[in-house]
């Protein structure tokens, strides 16, 4: 699968991680990837086990049970240039600047996800994603990893 512009939202400023996950989830709903209820499952999953990945990246996705709300595979990208804290602990800051909302059916999302992982393992690359001012820029950046 490929990343499309309609799956990207630039320059968002969610106040909480929940709101950030909701943004990512709503985009998945809007593009017909998941049912509304998937969003709750995303939020729940993040409460159980944080989807914060390090390097200013979070990849919220549903729980195992939430999988039944997936209609088709999709990955949404929410850019949060000013960052949003994904930590559950007041003492710790897990700032996230790029949120990847994931709805994965039949492992079709793995290729893109693996590209994202490889690309984002270098924090400078995440910075490029967080600085991007157009959607095309984000798509091209992620394409760099082949």
């Amino acid at each position: 699968m490929e990343l499309k512009e309609n799956m990207i939202l630039l320059d968002q400023a969610p106040a909480t991680k929940k709101e950030a996950i909701r943004l990512a989830g709503e985009l998945l709903v809007k593009e017909g990837c998941v049912d509304e209820r998937y969003i709750d499952s995303m939020i729940k999953r993040n409460e159980d086990v944080s989807t914060y990945m390090g390097n200013f990246i979070a990849i919220p996705h549903g729980t195992d049970e939430g999988k039944r709300f997936i209609k088709k595979t999709g990955i949404s990208v929410i850019q949060v240039p000013l960052g949003v804290d994904f930590s559950n602990d007041e003492q710790v800051e897990n700032l996230v600047t790029v949120v990847f909302g994931i709805a994965g059916a039949n492992n079709e999302h793995l290729e893109l996800l693996s590209q994202i992982a490889l690309y984002c393992s270098d924090v400078s690359n995440v910075a490029k994603l967080a600085d991007a001012t157009t959607k095309a820029e984000i798509i091209n950046l992620l394409k760099e990893v082949g």
Partner: protein, 586 residues
């Protein structure tokens, strides 16, 4: 030393076989009970004969139960993929067989799982991403097809021939009048679900001839004697453990009163030593019947104590009951001895596992969180990333590590991902999880090596794993000396009260991240200097401010501000100078 080692490994192997057999049958006991109840209640000789319902009996016995066993057997070896291939392979031995193919299923199920597992280990990392679905379905499908054909032509005839030989053995023993010894064949044959073949096929016809002349025949009792099976089930009731113990009393009722002997067969299969118990019980029972000259008027079917007593001629009650009881007592005693002995070895086994786990925990406790005992990594063949749903984080981690492993030139280690709930314990396994899931992962895979990561994308653990896999020895990767503060020397860091990063439209994200990283590093160094990202026009022109900028941004800064201290870096996030600044700050 070597001898002792071999012994334990043989013992462990027998235990493993026993566990495997019970693992295939135990999950399906419900199906066997459903079949048993339907048979006992609705068959032609049952309590409420119902022809329509009784039509279930044959297909359930011949197809449902073997397929379930094959499915579970495949799943034990290789999860769902193995299960499906195992079931396909099983149908190959089931169709066209003369007897219910339980034995065949126990061979084909695990064989199917094993074959597809091997195939995957060869090809899986060569599959282009995006083609996984096609690969998965077609390899399983083709493998299943081939195995089913092998089943039809090879395994099916072998098992059928085996069961024929059993029957001929019984025939021969009867012909030489060593009747009690017939049970040496009958009992194992029963447990392999050949009970009807032997009972109705050999013993009943012969028995009818005898009964026609003498009014009764002991042959009707050889196979239908519920004593030996009852003894085994009672032994499990009192001395078994876990699931087997819990389900044994119910099984005993269905077997002894309901006359469905099949329910006790799984208990024998899960502990093959139990064959001794039922054989001894059967031989004793038959011997006792002969001593009392007991016999039945006609075939007792099903082999329920009620049906048997109903067929007992006057004057034979004592002999019949004595034979049943003697069979039960002897098999109970032997089964109890086997279970008790077995329990002690199982405890030993568990104790050893615990010991190992403890040693592992201890070695982990002592070290800094980046070190694992070097021995832990020897022989690792498979790495599994486990997360909650197996959808996102673990997939990311797995692709990163796979990439690193490839680049490091390691070829014999596979990296996959899954949900914690689907983890399976196996040797030579390394499990990587998030800290939160570590406990669940450890429960699921007690014999695996575990590594916890906090940060899936950028964990130092990955490089450690690679280094350890490569050399299996510990590599000390701690950076040695503190970097010398050369660049910071012209700055007066002791004056600095605030650190600023400049935020402009093209670097909003970067500046956010730079502030966060810098704060984090300061925090770790135990220092508290405020760090802020500001717009160029918001800056306070004071030497108490240290501004960290890239070369391009410095030009603009110089035009507007003269008093601030400036550090020029090539990269706001990863430049080495940042660490030096932190070291120099008050």
């Amino acid at each position: 030393m070597d001898d002792a080692k071999n012994k334990t490994s043989l013992k462990a192997r027998i235990q493993k076989l026993g566990t495997a057999l019970s693992g295939m049958v135990m999950p399906n006991i419900a199906a066997i009970i459903a079949w048993g109840l339907i048979t006992a209640i609705f068959m032609a000789e049952g309590w409420f004969p119902n022809k329509q319902i009784a039509e279930l009996i044959g297909p359930m016995l011949n197809y449902l139960l073997p397929l379930l066993i094959g499915y579970v057997g495949g799943r034990m070896v290789y999860e769902e993929r193995g299960a499906v291939v195992g079931a396909i392979a099983t149908i190959g031995v089931v169709v066209g067989s003369q007897v219910p193919m339980f034995l065949g299923a126990m061979i084909m199920g695990p064989l199917g799982g094993w074959c597809i597992k091997k195939l995957d280990s060869i090809f899986q990392d060569k599959v282009r991403s995006g083609l996984e679905m096609i690969y998965n379905n077609f390899t399983s499908g083709i493998m299943g097809m081939l195995l089913a054909i092998v089943g039809v032509y090879v395994v099916n005839p072998v098992v059928n021939t085996g069961s024929m030989l059993m029957g001929e053995g019984v025939d021969w023993i009867i012909s030489v009048h060593l009747l009690p010894l017939a049970n040496i064949f009958i009992e194992p044959a029963k447990v392999l679900f050949l009970n009807n073949a032997i009972g109705n096929g050999i013993l009943v016809p012969l028995g009818i001839q005898q009964a026609a002349s003498a009014g009764k025949s002991v042959l009707f009792l050889l196979e239908s004697n519920p004593g030996p099976g009852l003894g085994v089930l009672l032994a499990f009731t009192f001395f078994g453990k876990g699931n087997a113990k819990g389900s044994a009393p119910g099984a005993a009722f269905i077997q002894f009163i309901g006359g469905i002997h099949e329910v006790y067969f799984p208990y024998i299969l899960m502990k093959p030593a139990m064959f001794l118990a039922v054989i001894a019980g059967g031989v004793t029972g038959t011997f006792t019947f002969q001593m009392f000259g007991a016999g039945l008027k006609a075939a007792a079917s099903p082999g329920s104590i009620i049906a048997i007593l109903a067929m007992t001629p006057k004057g034979s009650y004592l002999g019949v009951l004595a034979g049943v009881v003697a069979g039960a007592v002897v098999s109970f005693i032997i089964a109890a001895i086997i279970l008790k002995h077995d329990r002690s070895t199982a405890d030993e086994f568990e104790a050893k596992q615990q010991e190992m786990a403890q040693m592992k925990a201890e070695s982990k406790g002592k070290e800094t969180p980046t070190n694992l005992a070097p021995a832990d990594f020897s022989g690792i063949k498979k790495i599994i990333f486990a997360c909650d749903a197996g959808m996102g984080s673990s997939a990311m981690g797995a692709s990163l590590l796979r990439d690193k492993i490839k680049k490091a030139g390691i070829t014999d280690v596979s990296v996959t991902n899954t949900a914690v709930s689907r983890l399976q314990d196996e040797p030579d396994l390394l499990v990587v999880t998030q800290v939160e899931l570590a406990e669940r992962a450890a429960q699921k895979t007690p014999s695996a090596v575990h590594v916890q990561v906090g940060n899936f994308l950028n964990s130092p653990r990955y490089d450690e794993i690679i280094a350890r896999l490569k050399t299996e020895t510990l590599i000390n990767e701690e950076t040695g000396a503190e970097p010398k503060a050369t660049t910071g020397s012209e700055l007066e860091l002791s004056n600095v009260k605030e650190i600023n990063f400049i935020r402009h439209d093209q670097n909003i994200g970067t500046s956010t991240m730079a502030v966060s990283l810098f704060k984090d590093s300061l925090h770790k160094a135990g220092k508290k200097v405020p760090v802020k990202a500001v717009r160029l026009d918001e800056l306070v022109d004071s030497s108490e401010h240290l501004v960290i900028v890239t070369k391009e941004a410095k030009k603009n800064l110089d035009i507007r501000y003269t008093n601030v201290q400036v550090l020029v870096v090539s990269d706001l996030l990863t430049d080495e100078k940042l660490a030096q600044i932190i070291a120099g700050l008050a």
